[in-house]
């Protein structure tokens, strides 16, 4: 059974965003890491890159395939999780703790377009 955390916002493309003040931490959900299997590489953008809600910002690669990452929110990247460079498999151990990018939100209201934990639980049932 995939883990879903209360208090986070979820996208249909299986990314999450955790809001802390004016920042959002973006990563992939536990369900996504389960579907992918062993994560072997994370193609990350750079600090100061802009991201737009619904648009691609990188990719996470399992042994078998590459999956594009879509940002659930818009803003400017202030930090990328460089630890994933040497240990991409950390995403398999704890997908929520191992976020991929930290974004300064340009439109905090955008999270209203995302799902809460209960809605995401229903989404992955189907």
């Amino acid at each position: 059974m995939s883990k879903i955390l209360e208090g986070l916002y979820y996208a249909e493309s299986h990314e999450f965003v955790k809001i802390e003040g004016e920042y959002g931490y973006v990563g992939i959900t536990d369900y996504a890491q389960e579907q992918l299997g062993n994560v072997v590489y994370v193609d990350m953008p750079e600090v100061d890159d802009e991201v737009t809600a619904g648009e691609e910002f990188g990719a996470v690669e399992s042994v078998k395939a590459a999956s594009d990452l879509y940002s659930p929110i818009s803003g400017v990247i202030v930090e990328v999780n460089e630890a994933l460079d040497s240990d991409p498999g950390a995403i398999n151990k704890d997908a929520y703790a191992n976020w991929i990018i930290k974004v300064k939100l340009s439109d905090p209201g955008e999270v209203e377009n995302l799902m809460d934990a209960a809605a995401y639980a229903k989404c992955i049932e189907h």
Binding site: G37, N38, V40, Y41, D43, A59, K64, A65, D85
Partner: protein, 364 residues
């Protein structure tokens, strides 16, 4: 909607919690515990694969040897009984219909093992070219189940767990034997670069072998995911990636399995010319100087020019490197030369290297 076929072991894969995906017209297990774990089990110990999706065709009759040699690139003339040959069936253009194994079961009695995704096409091809040859063609894919037991401990486990003596078999040989009143085929072959065996039997016996091997806990169930990473690392081709209707075996660097000194076979003219004068494209290995992963279809560049495409690529499991097999313009195919691979929006530097990224350890 086309419904995928299932092998006789399908229910067992579901029970084991396998991730199932379509492959070659079948719903097949991709992984159980995980590709990396299964890959390592085969390299260091032993794993079992359901390869019942593979197709089987028997060709026998007065002209069987002559006919197989007519459609097959390797040379089976005067072959000893019990020997297996790898080779290809070609179109007159030199492109591959399929790559396959030919088992010589008796004088004028051959057993062909073909790829799942090509079964219908191959059987049609084998039938349509047989006009004028006195042969009987029997399509047996629905009868046979097949498992591949692969890894350094394979021989021990097949002998002790299944009670099938196999230490007498050398690489690329097989034997038929009676097992619970049924004739089964066991060969020292595989698709992993490790020592191993493949066993062809009825569905009932295939299920029994599978259960026995799994129950001991000594043999790991392995899916097609690691079958692909294992074969890739040792440079074995996969039809659909390194081979296709538009790729010749000379381009795929399989020339040693193409006996152009044979009197004739379909496609000979083209491949003979390519062997003598060189082929327009060549399969090479590429090692990237970065962790990004090259995948099937990605462009290979020299400077700004597109010179070919990646056929298979992985973050190699046994050797921690991003590597690919790629089919490129022959004039760029020089060992040690720099090339680039386009991965999504970025271009990464790499070097042309040998096509084997990991050393095979066959027991010959």
């Amino acid at each position: 909607m086309e419904v995928n076929k299932r092998t006789c072991l399908y229910d067992k894969h579901v029970e084991l919690g396998a991730l199932i995906s379509p492959f070659g017209g079948f719903d097949m297990p991709i992984q159980y515990s995980g590709i990396v774990e299964e890959h390592n089990a085969v390299r260091s110990r032993c794993g079992v694969f359901d390869v019942s999706h593979m197709g089987e065709v028997t060709i026998k009759g007065t002209d069987a040897e002559k006919y197989v040699n007519h459609i097959f690139t390797n040379d089976i003339a005067n072959a000893p009984i019990g020997k297996i040959y790898y080779g290809l069936m070609l179109y007159p253009t030199g492109g591959a219909v399929d790559d396959l194994l030919v088992y010589k079961r008796g004088e004028n009695d051959f057993f062909l093992v073909i790829n799942a995704g090509n079964i219908d096409k191959d059987v049609e091809w084998i039938r349509q070219n047989s006009e004028g040859y006195d042969v009987e063609i029997v399509h047996e894919s629905d009868y046979y189940g097949e498992i591949a037991v692969q890894g350094p401990e394979s021989e021990t486990h097949i002998e002790s767990i299944l009670g099938i003596p196999c230490s007498d078999l050398s690489f690329y040989t097989f034997k038929q034997l009676e097992y619970e009143g049924e004739t089964i085929i066991i060969s020292r072959t595989g698709y992993t670069g490790e020592d191993g065996f493949e066993i062809y039997a009825s569905h009932a016996l295939t299920c029994k072998f599978w259960d026995k091997l799994i129950e001991t806990g000594k043999v790991a169930p392995c899916g097609l995911g690691c079958r692909d990473t294992l074969r890739f690392e040792v440079g074995l081709p996969l039809y659909g990636d390194e081979l296709s209707e538009t790729i010749t075996p000379i381009e795929a660097c399989l020339g040693i399995f193409v006996k152009t000194d044979k009197e004739e076979f379909i496609g000979k003219d083209v491949v003979k010319k390519q062997k003598e004068e060189g082929a327009p494209r060549k399969l090479v290995g590429i090692e990237l100087h970065d962790k990004a992963i090259p995948r099937h279809g990605y462009e290979v560049l020299s400077g700004e020019d597109v010179i070919g495409h990646v056929t298979t690529g992985y973050r190699c499991i046994s050797v921690d490197k991003s590597v690919a097999l790629a089919l490129i313009d022959s004039k760029y195919a020089n060992m040690g030369d720099p090339v680039k691979v386009k991965i999504r929006k970025k271009v990464f530097d790499g070097t042309i290297v040998a096509r084997k990224f990991y050393k095979k350890s066959y027991k010959k």
